[in-house]
């Protein structure tokens, strides 16, 4: 196992990684930007090293400073967390070149799978179904003919996409040209690459993802599914495991995810996202080559520490468990507490947290990097905490999470908790009738 690692991230995920490392007896170096100097991961780190000013482009995305920091502090490996450089093949490559272990997949896996259109092709080769759709198209005429052959409504997606950016629904030919233009602009702005492809729109689907883990030699296990159907503008709001779908529907989905990961000899933690329609047909949509924000729900139903498992695989120790040892028990639900105002169109609310009290008691887990007196910097995303409730059944997990959110005190900034409470109180939510249009259709 490593003696010392560097965390190239911030916020709750930096703390999550620090906790996993510490429990394994690994020393932790936290690389931080100037606006994160008094953040909890920095305060708790064995060593901390400033790698740039507040803007992420100059700090958390500054490859040279991150690598220098790792080398100078004697770290053997770099954990990229999620976001920032976590899915950057070039960074992974540079780590290898400097004899630093990148805690994640091989660089070539990242680039293969990071290209969404290419990931579709790989899935098809591995025998995993994808939504009827296209390879990337070049001009608008080609777009018309592909859309015609797939059948409207279609979904435009960015090849380099992620996080909902560059995605557009097109209901009829009359709308195609305008939406293609907009999606291209957004994709160019977000990813520097305007390339688009399209898929048939799955109507009222569930968003279900499978947590997989590979040893890089072709052995792959899965940790079952997470249901992430509760989304707002393609951003996940609340995630849970298991899904309310039946094992008959879900079991082939997990097998498909393993097949794909096996096909690419995947190394480390990854997530295969699927849409499942009302008839139980499932379609691969993309693979995320990192730990996910919502990984704690899987940890709570399986009991395993996925970040520690990342360390083991990255250290060359292989997978610590076989598929047969992985079982789920009970039900877990996570909410993403953001510093934003749900009454003002979810406008981010950076500011100083003046008073803070976390919930406790049975079945409650809190992952957060904030503390009383902490100033939330305006430079990064607004996630300030994940609150997760576990209970033997979904019907018990919902009131437990509700009770925990009611106990929570976060003064000084507005948070999304009132919105989460509305989700939990929603009758459609409570009976598991949740599809990706839930927020738009059932709450607005």
């Amino acid at each position: 196992m490593f003696k010392k690692i560097l965390i190239a991230n911030r916020g709750e995920v930096a703390l999550r990684i620090l906790r996993a490392a510490r429990e394994l007896g690994i020393q932790v170096v936290v690389a931080y930007s100037q606006s994160d100097e008094s953040s909890l991961p920095v305060l708790l780190a064995d060593e901390a090293i400033c790698i740039g000013p507040a803007p992420a482009s100059k700090s958390y995305l500054n490859v040279r400073n991150l690598l220098s920091a790792a080398i100078l502090t004697g770290a053997e490996a770099i954990h990229p967390g999620y976001g920032f450089l976590a899915e950057n093949a070039e960074f992974a490559q540079k780590c290898e070149e400097h004899n630093l272990v990148f805690i994640g997949p091989r660089p070539e896996s990242i680039s293969q799978i990071g290209d969404k259109a290419n990931a579709r092709r790989l899935a098809l080769q591995a025998g995993v179904s994808v939504a009827p759709g296209s390879d990337p198209f070049a001009g608008i005429e080609e777009a018309y003919s592909i859309a015609e052959s797939i059948g409207y409504p279609v979904m435009l997606k960015a090849s380099a996409g992620g996080g909902g950016r560059g995605m557009r629904v097109v209901h009829s030919p009359s709308d195609l040209r305008r939406q293609v233009q907009r999606a291209q602009e957004e994709a160019r702005a977000s990813f520097g690459n305007p390339e688009l492809y399209m898929e048939r729109l799955i109507e009222e689907p569930k968003h279900v993802e499978i947590q997989v883990f590979g040893d890089g030699q072709g052995e792959v296990v899965h940790f079952f599914e997470r249901d992430c159907s509760i989304q707002r503008r393609y951003q996940k709001v609340l995630e849970e495991a298991p899904s309310t779908l039946s094992a008959e529907v879900l079991s082939p989905v997990a097998k498909a995810a393993v097949r794909l990961a096996h096909y690419v000899k995947y190394r480390g933690a990854g997530t295969c996202e699927f849409l499942i329609d009302r008839e139980g047909r499932f379609y691969f949509s993309e693979m995320n080559t990192r730990i996910q924000v919502e990984h704690p729900v899987t940890e709570m139903v399986t009991g395993f520490d996925l970040v520690q498992e990342q360390f083991r695989v990255a250290a060359g120790l292989g997978l610590s468990l076989k598929q047969g040892q992985i079982k789920t028990s009970g039900h877990a639900i996570e909410v993403r507490v953001n510093a934003e105002d749900p009454d003002s169109d979810f406008r981010p609310c950076p500011g100083t947290i003046t008073d803070l009290h976390w919930p406790g008691g049975p079945g409650i887990r809190v992952d957060s990097h904030v503390y009383a007196g902490y100033r939330i910097p305006p430079d990064y995303d607004s996630l300030i905490a994940k609150i997760i409730a576990w209970a033997p059944t979904r019907d018990e997990a919902i009131p437990r999470l509700r009770r925990a959110l009611e106990e929570t005190v976060i003064d000084g900034v507005k948070t999304s908790i009132p919105f989460h409470l509305r989700v939990l109180d929603n009758a459609f939510y409570q009976r598991g009738a949740i599809f990706t249009d839930f927020v738009g259709r059932r709450m607005e």
Partner: protein
């Protein structure tokens, strides 16, 4: 007490707008006196420079006061503490070299006059040697980092009294 604690203390002192601060516990003593001129509105002010006394803390043995200043690269907050000096700070993470090669004299030493553009040191990062130049002409008053020491982003390297 660790460097970052002292650093935070200094931030707090600056923010609190106090004039003198002294802190003593066991065999550790810290005193900070702030220039009256830290407030630009003040007209009559001798420049009592920032004075920091640390004793008994082995982590501070050497160099005397390297890390104590908040990292504020590219900004001129330093002037609030030391109005007549400017600090050259590390623009990248890397290893500090005072000289271009092991056997040759350093680029600069205390008391040297430098011009805008004079090379002051090298910071090596990823096998690349980055020459760090003076931004303004002046006299080198203090060198805050020792040869071959690792430096983080924003770390103060030199204090220079402008011409």
């Amino acid at each position: 007490m660790e460097i970052k604690d002292i650093r935070r203390l200094l931030d707090a002192v600056a923010a609190a707008d106090v004039n003198e601060f002294s802190y003593e516990t066991g065999d550790f003593k810290l005193t900070v006196r702030r220039s009256l001129r830290s407030n630009p509105d003040l007209v009559h002010g001798r420049s009592t420079d920032l004075e920091i006394l640390c004793r008994g803390d082995s982590s501070l043995d050497s160099p005397p006061v390297p890390d104590v200043i908040p990292n504020l690269a590219g900004q001129s907050e330093a002037s609030s503490v030391t109005p007549d000096l400017y600090e050259v700070r590390a623009p990248i993470v890397g290893t500090f070299y005072a000289a271009p090669a092991p056997e040759v004299p350093p680029y600069v030493k205390v008391g040297d006059r430098v011009e805008e553009g004079t090379v002051l040191c090298i910071i090596e990062a990823m096998k690349l040697m980055n020459e760090i130049e003076a931004e303004r002409a002046g006299t080198v008053v203090e060198i805050l980092v020792r040869n071959e020491e690792p430096v983080e982003y924003g770390q103060a390297l030199f204090r220079i009294e402008p011409q």
